[in-house]
Symmetry: C2
Subunit: 601 residues, 2 copies
Amino acid sequence: MAEKFVSMRNLRFLLYEIFDVESLTRYPYFQDHSREIFEMVLDTGEKMGRDLLHPYFAEMDRNPPEFVDGKVKVLPMVRTLMKECGEGGWIGAHASYERGGQQMPTLVLNAFRFIFCAANYSASVYPFLTGGAAQLIESFGSEDLIETYVPRMFSGEWQGTMALTEPQAGSSLTDLATTAEPTDAGYYKIKGQKIFISAADHDGVDNVVNLLLARIKGAPPGVKGISMFVVPQKRIGENGKLEGNDLLTTGIYHKLGYRGSPITQLSLGENDDCRGWLVGEPNKGLRYMFQLMNEARIDVGMSAAAIASAAYYASLQYTQERPQGRPVTSKDPTQPQVPIIEHADVKRMLLFQRAVVEGSMSLIFQCARYVDLSHVLDGEEKERCELLLDLLTPIAKSYPAEMGSLAVSAGLQCLGGYGYCDEFPLEQHYRDMRIHPIHEGTTGIQGMDLLGRKVVMKGGKAFMLYLQELEKTIEAARALEPLKPHADDLQRATETLKDVTGRLTGIAAEGKIDLFLADATLYLELFGIIAIAWQWLVQAVAARKALDTDSIEAERNFYTGKLYTCRYFFAYELPKIEGLARRLKACDGLTVEMKEAFFED
Amino acid sequence: MAEKFVSMRNLRFLLYEIFDVESLTRYPYFQDHSREIFEMVLDTGEKMGRDLLHPYFAEMDRNPPEFVDGKVKVLPMVRTLMKECGEGGWIGAHASYERGGQQMPTLVLNAFRFIFCAANYSASVYPFLTGGAAQLIESFGSEDLIETYVPRMFSGEWQGTMALTEPQAGSSLTDLATTAEPTDAGYYKIKGQKIFISAADHDGVDNVVNLLLARIKGAPPGVKGISMFVVPQKRIGENGKLEGNDLLTTGIYHKLGYRGSPITQLSLGENDDCRGWLVGEPNKGLRYMFQLMNEARIDVGMSAAAIASAAYYASLQYTQERPQGRPVTSKDPTQPQVPIIEHADVKRMLLFQRAVVEGSMSLIFQCARYVDLSHVLDGEEKERCELLLDLLTPIAKSYPAEMGSLAVSAGLQCLGGYGYCDEFPLEQHYRDMRIHPIHEGTTGIQGMDLLGRKVVMKGGKAFMLYLQELEKTIEAARALEPLKPHADDLQRATETLKDVTGRLTGIAAEGKIDLFLADATLYLELFGIIAIAWQWLVQAVAARKALDTDSIEAERNFYTGKLYTCRYFFAYELPKIEGLARRLKACDGLTVEMKEAFFED
């Protein structure tokens, strides 16, 4: 089993050298924090990841949750994990002091979570999903709901979930049909089916708190009639004890990967006695959910980058230890073989992985910085952070998910036949990773979100702000002689992005919405490559400057590696936008015209 | 479970309308054949695929071979399959009449095998690997070896294998270390270890015949000292009965996919009594093996295309049946949902799959035609076919393997969360497929083979012949008005290929072999995209002409679908060469310079 799954050095590079998390402590909200505290978080994360999560990486895959007598059984480590995360304050660390949290910057929490996800993705889901669900109740729930649920979720006693999907409404939330009927007692009677709900039943906790979308009887059709409810698996009875809430688990899914976490099917209100409590106002459920959903999307990107990180270090180690073949310039069979990391094509596959992993991480930490700043700034500055976050969310979700899948595949390839066998972790990473382009909005949905909503919102304001960010980075890079070619490349890429965006929004302006959105997934891909190039240039500027002053060899190697990986990205990945731009600008309606009958043979 | 896994219409299109298999019957070797016979082959293949192989697709995955008491146990269906394939003459159908075969054209056999692979890839391996191994003995073995082994392999009683890989020599065959010591009795004593050997032990047959590479004591180092041996699992004793041959199975691998077929570890000669019989002359083993290896590589491409075919039809069916969402131009939530095949992005994913599947198939059938012609032609014409086959083999192996992996992933994506669950076949196809970029020479190895060997061999003769083939197709397309833009695109792509090839061979001419080969994998990718564009244009020419005369609606839909898929390929796939060409021409040695130390954080 490979030992290393994350680079702590790289996390510190991102936190301190790129996104300057220490500067946040200037703001009153974060003023109690300091580098020492952040270091303690990182050290604890590393220790828990290594000792508590990583040892169960393969075991949780090979002993997935079982559905026995209508209940889901998981490994005992889940209870241990929830308890330790609760006791350590990690589930509610994001929350304000008054809510029992630690007002911890998202940047630092992201680093902590990244370690967990890289150590054991399935395990990481239990505590962090709970934290996210609790945050929804904190933000929009009544004091009563908050008092009842949040402390027991923060303590890890109760699991939180997001319950959106229904059999007839996968990506189409507008078609949610679960109903909520008001009663005089203040609660609603819930009736319906939910599918693909993560962790909505397991014996690692004493209760499950579903944040569930349903339609109050008489509500308007579509997304305007969706409300949010707290629907606990067990409700608190009159005697204060937990009692059943007419919420049945009807099955769990057998999945390609991500097997350590149970994904459940739920049936609500079969006996007309499933109670739900409204969160916030009626018919605003989707808006509330999207607070969590947007975070969940960035979490997906982070998890994807984390799995790709673990795969990268496993393949790096293998390529350093495995002798095979000789340099192409000296094929003498009597000479010893060389470790395969000496072959250019293997280095290319490693650089590809690193470029995806660390480029994705940088973008995700960029988003976390916007989250943190939007908490402490106001007015224009706050809006700027929020708009940039909104714009970049579909990229932060989909680039790591899509490219991370390819990165893990490259890691598997580095191991040859062994990559295909379960003696090594790569095959599991390959399976685990594949969920990420699907859940919390498929890649296709992200493309529509980016082009159809984010790029055009507020008259393109977010997009203009983003172009300014690119410009700042290009200027900073241009000031450093060795980075000038990259600055020029990103400048040209920015022009391409503007060009393509102008062409597409022009088509939208003509009212041809189907044509406008037909290749939204390709637009997402183009946009994503440029965003990661931007983040690589941000990193290269810092690495280049550090190299001028740092004389410790390990540090110099780290920064030099950053510069090589940046060069890799600009040489091998950025040119992919050329073919994409050509296709996007053609915009000839091929996929709109194609008819179902032509797929028949 | 999806029912359709292959389009028989498309197989007939390739056989009769594109590669004109009937024309082969003009040659004496194939003169007994006719369209009626070919149809019988297709019908039998379809029936066996549907009734014998496909029903075990999931079962073989869920009940993989077990290693019990040193022996490998497989499902009883394997014995049934081998027996039926033997009795039907399908294992030896390629062979000449005098060897007990049917002199069946490779084109037709490929169609037959394609059906098997699409129905159940793991199952298909048992008979076809046996046929390939038998063919090696036929081609290079003594009459005695042929008589002893070939009939029992053709009958399906004995399994054949290729035993190359060793623990210290994966991709580096030069480092094979298994030894063969001559004895006075005519046989050699074999000693060594082999790993990753497909089907080298199972209870679906009575014996296993390994075609094994080893080094005769005193042989020169490297590939020049490798010989080929027949090393049976059980040898024929003096009484004519089978007896042990000191060949132990030491384990089987637990794999990501392709689980229905046992991949074994072998230990030979632990008691100094493992006997092998030399095939052909000493030290020519690698050359012999490459006859089979080249076929095996094309078979990998075919298997990959076949798995992608099954995935395509499964996802096509799902998208036709699954209602979800509404057209982007009419989002009224009170209107019913539409099947997801009506969404442009879903059609794009389906077109991508079809473009990869049918483009790959066309290239593989093109190769099969070269095989068939090289049997019946001689002189210049024969050499032409052989050179084109040599040149295209790494493409026929790697394009379907690499792009097929992405195609299956797109199929899985069409199903959303269900694609990730084992109720549907997509997740298994995704796992099964991933072996193909690895076995029979990784994609990296194929890139080195293409650029370092095939493109430059005989002064670039094969490459020049290939350019002539492209030119012929471009001319044919240009004669049809609607295909002119595609003809122009392929013309430009050809210029790009020449340009890149010239740049790289120029670097080779300067003696910079490491630079020349550093991006061979990208060159393979570029070359592959253009080769598939060529094959799509070949198909489009035929479809376009057929549309002018055919009036049956189903037929018109089929041809129209071909033209749309060709358009898809030229619009979405071919432009990818632009970024690749830019990178290949830069050729700045980035991956050559990159040092191991820079990967350390």
